[in-house]
């Protein structure tokens, strides 16, 4: 038994059940589905990234030189659509959530494995429809699809894109149903709610948002499609429709959706910080409930995207106030992560660098969110590059970094291979530097007044735009590196043991690497709290020497 745990097992989920394409495309194993998602969203990320690079190249000069306005507008729209709906929303939940949730709670699989596979197919179908729309001509409405532009004026494939998003949305909903039901009914004996890893809590909170918000965007986009196809009057001002109704419906989904795009990342960071500080997370209960609080309060603030849209003054102030309330649980998380480092035993491995990078960049993004939530300032910076910088700090600096962290942390478990550590650290630093160079100048640009979605711009903004483009190049290189060495490690990486990081949790302590198909030989009985690290994590000799030194300095004992 012990032997099997140390060496790599003869059978695991990657070789059990065959290697053929059928064994992958018809699999109901949550781990394989996670990998299917990983491959698909990586492709979407590269696609969205190429759009981003083209945007940045065009913005190198104030004039229109690389592409026409029509093309530019399609570029940022498709960049937004692909990145948000086909990369960031499914990223951590669909890849790592799928892979880890059943293992972390001690179950053999999700509650509905076939539904899980169906989710992936819906996601891919939606993706293919959206890509189809891109190929035959694209959309130019911005990812926000504001009416009446999208419903009446846009001369592009709005309906097709919208259908793609709708289908993918249902895929997301089914995944979320699976998460919630699995967390409720499939926990191993002894796995009480407060023994769950924080990754589970944050994915659970994410699933709640998905359930309550995604249908709203679904039907809203259907309404736009119906109006476009049939000429019904739903948002159309020419028939008396209110141009703001669409915005209310859209942001009722899309603000909560930004928390769909950050909560799973926060869950990952909690895992990483605990492991690499070798210490139980500080204020577990507060971090856990902060996730739920963000999920719920996140629904009350959507109007902060509409301060200057013609919404009533009163509503603007109400939404401003509520936005400040929802920021409190985020603050709680940041403080608790920082406090966890105190008296830890910190290893700066690649995943930890990503995690610490996340904390810093998310905080900066969040703090600028606070400035946007101040209605008075939003008057000036709304729809400028300040907003672009704000959300890239959170979504790229936050969530993408968390995704990279998760990838580097669980890669050995997923593939059974170790990647070259040095390269990983170089890539992490490159990404951090490139990222800041890309997006920090955009804060300044925004306050100077450069509007977003601008194909051409006045000369005086050029210097900062050049900086930003330079940064994006470095950033692109930073992303290309892991693509290289991770793929390399699949064939040539060293084989990983069951617990290469000396981490705690069922996935590390109770499964082989890679795990077997049904995860556990026997469903484990959980008798310990999460993050049960032996503290302080020094070896005994060091600890004793330290105590002697302290005693020599005349410090009082600790009892």
């Amino acid at each position: 038994m012990k032997e099997a745990m140390i060496g790599q097992p003869g059978r695991h989920y990657l070789n059990e059940g065959g290697f053929g394409w059928k064994s992958w495309l018809l699999t109901t194993d949550h781990k394989r589905i996670g990998i299917l998602y990983m491959i698909s969203i990586t492709s979407f990320f590269l696609l969205g990234g190429i759009f981003a690079l083209l945007i940045r190249l065009e913005l190198l000069t104030p004039q229109a030189d690389l592409v026409s306005s029509e093309t530019y507008n399609r570029l940022f729209t498709m960049h937004g659509v692909v990145m948000v709906w086909f990369f960031l929303i499914p990223s951590i939940p669909a890849v790592f959530g799928n892979f880890l949730i059943p293992i972390m709670i001690g179950a053999r699989d999700m509650a509905f494995p076939r539904l899980n596979l169906a989710s992936w197919y819906l996601f891919m179908l939606g993706g293919i429809v959206a890509i189809g729309a891109i190929v035959i001509g694209g959309v130019d409405t911005g990812w926000t699809f504001y009416t009446p532009y999208s419903s009446t004026y846009a001369n592009a494939y709005v309906v097709l894109t919208v259908i793609g998003i709708f289908i993918a949305g249902f895929g997301t909903i089914f995944t979320a149903i699976n998460f919630i039901v699995t967390t409720h009914t499939m926990r191993a004996p002894g796995m009480g709610w407060f023994r769950l890893p924080l990754f589970i809590w944050s994915n659970y909170a994410t699933a709640i948002i998905v359930i309550l918000a995604t249908p709203v965007i679904g039907i809203t986009l259907v309404l736009v499609g119906v109006e476009r196809l049939l000429g019904f009057g739903i948002f159309d001002p020419a028939m008396g429709g209110d141009p703001l109704l669409f915005q209310h419906m859209f942001w009722f989904y899309s603000h909560p959706a930004v928390y769909i795009m950050i909560l799973p990342g926060m869950g990952v960071v909690s895992e990483l910080v605990a492991c690499f500080a070798y210490r139980r997370i500080f204020g577990y209960i507060f971090v856990a409930f902060a996730s739920i609080a963000i999920a719920l309060l996140g629904f009350f603030v959507w109007g902060h995207h509409m301060f200057v849209s013609g919404q009533s003054l009163f509503a603007g102030l109400l939404f401003s106030l509520l936005s400040y309330l929802v920021a409190v649980p985020s603050a709680v998380k940041v403080f608790n992560w920082t406090a966890t480092l105190y008296k830890g035993s910190i290893r700066l491995e690649a995943p930890m660098i990503y995690a610490l990078g996340f904390i810093g960049l998310f905080t900066l993004g969040g703090l600028t969110g606070l400035m946007l939530a101040a209605a008075a300032i939003d008057i000036h910076v709304h729809d400028t590059y300040f907003v672009i910088a704000h959300f890239h700090y959170i979504m790229v600096g936050g969530m993408v970094l968390a995704y990279m962290g998760a990838l580097h942390f669980w890669w050995p478990k997923i593939t059974g291979r170790l990647y070259p550590n040095g390269w990983a650290i170089i890539a992490a630093i490159l990404i951090f530097v490139g990222f800041n160079l890309t997006f920090f100048p955009q804060f300044v640009l925004g306050y100077l007044g450069m509007p977003r979605r601008y194909h051409t711009y006045p000369e005086e903004f050029q210097m900062l735009n050049v900086l930003s483009t330079a940064g994006a190049t470095i950033l692109g290189g930073g992303y290309a590196l892991p693509l290289g060495y991770l793929l390399w490690s699949l064939g040539w990486g060293k084989r990983a043991g069951p617990n290469p990081w000396d981490a705690r949790g069922l996935e590390w302590e109770m499964t082989t690497t890679p795990p077997i198909k049904e995860n556990f030989e026997v469903i484990p009985l959980v008798e310990r709290e999460a993050y049960d690290y032996a503290e302080p994590a020094l070896n005994i000799g060091e600890q004793l020497r330290f105590e002697r030194e302290m005693a020599a300095q005349g410090e009082k004992g600790y009892r």
């Binding site: 409720h184 309550l212 709203v216 703001l244 209310h248 009722f252 629904f299 009350f300 959507w302 109007g303 919404q311 009533s312 003054l313 009163f314 509503a315 109400l318 939404f319």
Partner: protein, 110 residues
């Protein structure tokens, strides 16, 4: 445990109640009592929905979890209604009123 099984009689009774409420609802449409007809009609509709949820859909006999899930959708919809209306019901042009306080207008009132 296992699922609760209600008697056929329960279902018949509930159906009769539903049909009676339906008649009440239609009747209300022809009594003109202003805003009250809206309130009452919606109350009757909600009563009907509750009957369906509690008996036909067995929530009456379900676990707390099902209760919670069944109510969360409703609560969230109410949140959406409330916050949306916080805009629409306060849309009056504050700017204008602050600028020129309305004077009573007699020319038009004959």
């Amino acid at each position: 445990m296992g699922a609760h099984i209600a008697s056929q009689k329960t279902y018949f009774t509930v159906t009769v109640a539903l049909l009676m409420l339906l008649v009440v609802k239609v009747g209300l449409a022809y009594v003109h009592i202003g805003i009250w007809s809206l309130v009452l009609t919606l109350t009757v509709a909600t009563a009907k929905a509750l009957l369906v949820i509690l008996y036909f859909m067995h929530v009456r006999w379900s676990t707390r979890l099902v209760w919670a899930v069944a109510s969360v959708g409703v609560v969230w919809l109410l949140v959406m209604f409330a916050l949306m209306m916080s805009d629409y019901l306060t849309r009056g042009d504050v700017h204008y009123m602050l600028n020129q306080p309305p004077v009573s207008h007699t020319v038009n009132e004959r």
